[in-house]
C-alpha cells in the first residue's frame, strides 16, 4: 500500500539526507520524494510516498519524529487530499504525427510547451495515473526523454496543521470540488 507523508522540516543543510537515510536504513522503499520551500521562511516541506502497511507507516512516523530537525509529520494517505505529479515529456513528432499528438494532449488537458522540427515537449500535471495514461498513448510515437517531479500532496479543505501542540486541527471543509481528484 502506498502511504503518503507530508513532512515539515527545518531548512538546514543535510536534512534531506537525514530523512532519506532513515528510510534506507530502516529498509523502507521510497517511491517518490519531493521537497521544496513553504510559505514560512526556514521551513521546507517534503512529500514522501512509501510502500508499506499500516503498522509500518506508524513506525515510520515515529522514526521520522525522532529526527531533531523534523517539525511535523502528517500521514495524509487516508485523508481527502489532492495528489499531483508534473511531467515533461519530449516526444518525436513528424509533420504527419504532430496533429495526432496534439489531439491527445488536448484530451489529457496537457500543454505543449516547446515545438521543434522533429519533436514536442509536453507538460502535464495530474495524478500519477493520468500521467502514466498519457505516456502510454504517446509511446507509439517515440518518447525521447521524460522528467517527472514525483508526487506532491496536500490535504483538502481548510484543514491546516495546528501550529502548536494541543491546538486542535480545524475540521476539514466540505468536499465540494469533485473534479479535482478525478481528472481524466
Amino acid at each position: 500500500m502506498i502511504t503518503t507523508f507530508a513532512v515539515y522540516v527545518e531548512n538546514k543543510p543535510g536534512v534531506l539526507t537525514r530523512v532519506a537515510s532513515l528510510f534506507r536504513r530502516r529498509a523502507f522503499n521510497i517511491e517518490s520524494l519531493t521537497v521544496g520551500h513553504t510559505d514560512k521562511p526556514g521551513v521546507s516541506r517534503m512529500t514522501i510516498a512509501v510502500d508499506t502497511d499500516e503498522l509500518g507507516a506508524r513506525r515510520l512516523e515515529a522514526h521520522i519524529y525522532k529526527l531533531v530537525n523534523v517539525l511535523r509529520v502528517e500521514n495524509i494517505t487516508a485523508q481527502p487530499a489532492v495528489f499531483r505529479d508534473l511531467a515533461m515529456i519530449k516526444v518525436a513528432a513528424s509533420a504527419e504525427s504532430r496533429t495526432h499528438i496534439m489531439q491527445l494532449v488536448d484530451v489529457f488537458r496537457a500543454r505543449v510547451v516547446d515545438v521543434a522540427p522533429d519533436s514536442l515537449i509536453i507538460e502535464i500535471t495530474g495524478t500519477e495515473d493520468k500521467i502514466d495514461g498519457l505516456l502510454e498513448v504517446l509511446r507509439p510515437y517515440g518518447v525521447m526523454e521524460m522528467v517527472r517531479t514525483g508526487r506532491v500532496a496536500m490535504s483538502r479543505g481548510v484543514r491546516a496543521a495546528p501550529a502548536q501542540p494541543g491546538e486542535p486541527a480545524i475540521a476539514a471543509a466540505a468536499d465540494n470540488d469533485e473534479n479535482v481528484f478525478h481528472s481524466v
Binding site: E10, P13, G14, T17, R18, S21, L22, R25, L55, R58, R59, A62, H63, Y65, K66, L67, V68, V70, L71, R72, P162, Q164, P165
Partner: protein, 572 residues
C-alpha cells in the same frame, strides 16, 4: 565575555558537569587540547579512539551520566565509529567531539578530512557540523540534552578548526536549547492502561521480560514492587540483568538464545508477556512466527518506534517505564500464581542437573567455574564488564547480579573489544567500586593497547581473560552448524601474564580450579590492575542454545551428566 571556540567547548563541558573525558589529540582538535589545560576536567589519554568511545560508554552505563569522548578529524573520527554504533544500539548516552579541518577546506579532500558527520548520521541520535564559534555553545547544550533524554543515545559534534580558533561572545544562558518542535502525544490513554490491567489481573501464566529500560528510567524499585504484588516471575534480557535482583525468588534468570531453558519454555507456554523496557531483539525471541503464540503481549517502551516492530502486541504503552508502572500499580491486584510458578520450578529441575556447576571435578578448568568463583569472591558486589562471546553468556549465567548497572556489556552491537576500555570508564565513573573485566582471549587482543592507558592513569581494575585458545563462540557455531570445520577459529596467543608485566601491571596464569579463588583474592587486594590468564577447557560449549532463527524452545541442551550429582541452589 569573549572566548575562543576551543574555550567555549570546555566552558560548556564544565557547566554540563563533565569531570572526565576520554580522548586522543590530533591536528584538527589541537586548539581544543591547548585550551583544556585551563579547565578542571580530567583527560584520559587513550591508545585508540575506539577505546575512548567505549570508555565514555562504560562511564555512562556505570553512572547514568553522559560520557564524553574527544578525537581529531579523519582517522581519529572514523576510529570512533564502532564505539558510537555500540552506544546507539544499547541506548547509552555519550557525546563524541571531533575536530574537523577548517571550514574553507571542507570538501577539498584536505589532509585528515573525512565526511564524518555523513558517516555517523545513521548511528547517532543526532549530529552536528559546527563551523562557527557562535554555534558551539548551542550545539553542546542541545547535544547533552538529546543524548540523555527520552531513549538515550550517542550524539556527535564535529567542530571545524577555525570554529575552535576564532573568538566570539560566550553566553551560556542564551545557548539554552530551543523548545523542541511539536511532537505528537503518543503516551498511553487511560483506556490502554485499563486494558493492560485487565490482561495482568486476568493472566494465569504471566511472565515479565525486563530490559535495559529499567536502569534507564530508574524503575528498579517499582519493578520489584510490581512483580511482588502481582506475583509475576521475571526474566531479564542480557542488558536487563541487575534491574531485578538475581537472588529474588521471582527472578527466573535470563531469556533468549543462551537463556535458561526453563525461561524459554515458560515464555512459549505463557498466556501474558509483560515486555518492560525491552525491544524483542532476535536474540531473545528466536523464530518470530512461533514466538509466545499463546500469550497476549503488553509492551512498555519510551520509543514509539519500538511498538509492533518485531512482535505484534496487544497493548503498546509509549512512555517512561517508571512512570507507566506508577500508573498501573494501583490497579494491579495481588495475584496467586502458585500453580504457574510451581510448573516453572518443575521445568527447572531438569536443567539443574545439566548445570556445569554440578559436573564432578575432572581436573579441567571451566570458564563457568572461574566466573562463578569471581562472583563468590566479590560477593556479587563488583561491576563486571564483559566482552562478547562465550564468556559473556557464561558471565550472564554464573555471575548473579543483584544491583542495577553492575553488568556492563555490549548487547545490541556485540562489539568485541568493548570490555577493557568500557571498564576503565566504569572505574572512573565509580572509583569506589570494584571493577572486573571478563573477556575472551580474542576480544582482549582487539583493544589490549588500553592496558597502557590503565598504567598511565594508574587505574585499579582486574582483568579475567577466559582463554580457551579459540574464538570460542565461532568455534561453537562451527561445531554445531558447520561440521566442526574450524575455519579461522584457533588463536595462537601471547603470554598474557608477561604482556601485562610489560605494561607495568601484574600478570598471573591459572590452569587449575583450586587456584582460581586464591588468585582472584590476591588480585582484589592488589592496588594495581591484575591481568589473570585463565587457561580454560578449550572446546567447552555454552548451553542451552537456541540456534539462530529456531523456535525459542527448540534448544540444544547440555548432555545430561551421569551419574547425577547433588544439586543445590547457587547461593552465597
Amino acid at each position: 565575555m569573549k572566548r575562543t571556540g576551543a574555550q567555549i567547548i570546555w566552558e560548556c563541558l564544565v557547566r554540563q558537569g563533565v569531570t572526565d573525558i576520554f580522548g586522543y589529540p590530533g591536528g584538527a582538535i589541537l586548539p581544543t587540547y591547548d585550551a583544556m589545560l585551563d579547565y578542571p576536567i580530567r583527560h584520559v589519554l587513550v591508545r585508540h579512539e575506539q577505546g575512548a568511545t567505549h570508555m565514555a560508554d562504560g562511564y555512562a552505563r556505570a553512572s547514568g551520566r553522559v560520557g564524553v569522548a574527544i578525537a581529531t578529524s579523519g582517522p581519529g573520527a572514523t576510529n570512533m565509529v564502532t564505539g558510537i554504533a555500540t552506544a546507539m544500539l544499547d541506548s547509552s548516552p555519550i557525546v563524541c567531539i571531533t575536530g574537523q579541518v577548517g571550514s574553507k577546506l571542507i570538501g577539498s579532500d584536505a589532509f585528515q578530512e573525512s565526511d564524518v558527520t555523513g558517516v555517523t548520521l545513521p548511528i547517532t541520535k543526532h549530529n552536528y557540523l559546527v563551523t562557527r564559534a557562535e554555534d558551539i555553545a548551542p550545539a553542546f547544550r542541545e547535544a547533552f540534552e538529546i543524548a540523555a533524554s527520552g531513549r538515550p543515545g550517542p550524539v556527535h559534534i564535529d567542530v571545524t578548526k577555525d570554529a575552535q580558533q576564532s573568538s566570539c561572545e560566550f553566553d551560556w544562558d542564551a545557548a539554552l536549547p530551543k523548545k523542541p518542535a511539536f511532537r505528537p502525544d503518543w503516551s498511553a490513554k487511560p483506556a490502554e492502561f485499563q486494558r493492560a490491567l485487565e490482561l495482568i489481573n486476568g493472566a494465569e501464566r504471566p511472565i515479565m521480560l525486563a530490559g535495559h529500560g529499567i536502569m534507564l528510567s530508574g524503575a528498579m524499585d517499582i519493578i520489584r514492587a510490581f512483580a511482588e504484588k502481582a506475583n509475576i516471575p521475571v526474566s531479564p534480557t542480557l542488558l536487563g540483568i541487575g534491574g531485578f535482583p538475581a537472588s529474588h525468588p521471582l527472578n527466573l534468570g535470563m531469556m533468549g538464545m543462551h537463556g535458561e531453558a526453563w525461561v524459554n519454555v515458560a515464555i512459549q507456554e505463557a498466556d501474558l508477556l509483560l515486555a518492560f523496557g525491552m525491544r524483542f531483539d532476535d536474540r531473545v525471541t528466536g523464530n518470530l512466527k512461533t514466538y509466545a503464540q499463546n500469550a497476549k503481549k503488553i509492551h512498555i517502551d519510551i520509543d514509539a518506534a519500538e511498538i509492533n516492530k518485531n512482535v505484534r502486541v496487544d497493548v503498546g504503552i509509549v512512555g517512561d517505564l517508571k512512570e507507566s508502572l506508577e500508573q498501573l500499580m494501583p490497579g494491579v491486584r495481588p495475584g496467586d500464581r502458585a500453580k504457574w510458578i510451581a510448573h516453572i520450578n518443575e521445568l527447572k529441575g531438569d536443567s539443574a542437573v545439566r548445570d556445569i556447576q554440578n559436573l564432578p571435578d575432572d581436573g579441567h578448568l571451566y570458564a563457568a567455574h572461574v566466573i562463578n568463583d569471581i562472583w563468590r569472591a566479590t560477593k556479587g558486589d563488583a561491576i563486571v564488564v564483559s566482552d562478547v562471546g562465550q564468556h559473556q553468556m557464561w558471565e550472564a549465567q554464573y555471575y548473579h547480579h543483584d544491583k542495577p548497572r553492575s553488568l556492563i556489556t555490549s548487547g545490541g552491537l556485540g562489539t568485541m573489544g568493548f570490555a577493557l576500555p568500557a571498564a576503565i570508564g566504569a572505574k572512573l565513573a565509580c572509583p569506589e567500586k570494584e571493577v572486573w573485566v571478563v573477556v575472551g582471549d580474542g576480544g582482549f587482543q582487539m583493544t589490549m593497547c588500553e592496558l597502557a592507558t590503565i598504567a598511565q592513569e594508574q587505574i585499579d581494575i582486574n582483568v579475567a581473560i577466559i582463554n580457551n585458545g579459540y574464538l570460542g563462540m565461532i568455534r561453537q557455531w562451527q561445531e554445531f552448524f558447520y561440521e566442526r570445520r574450524y575455519a579461522a577459529a584457533p588463536l595462537l596467543n601471547p603470554d598474557f601474564a608477561k604482556l601485562a608485566e610489560a605494561f607495568g601491571l601484574e600478570g598471573r596464569t591459572v590452569t587449575q580450579r583450586k587456584d582460581v579463588i586464591p588468585v582472584v583474592e590476591a588480585a582484589r587486594s592488589s592496588r594495581k590492575t591484575v591481568v589473570i590468564d585463565f587457561q580454560v577447557e578449550q572446546e567447552d560449549t555454552v548451553y542451552p542454545m537456541v540456534p539462530a532463527g529456531a523456535d525459542l524452545d527448540a534448544m540444544i541442551r547440555r548432555p545430561s551428566p551421569s551419574p547425577i550429582v547433588e544439586t543445590g541452589a547457587d547461593v552465597l
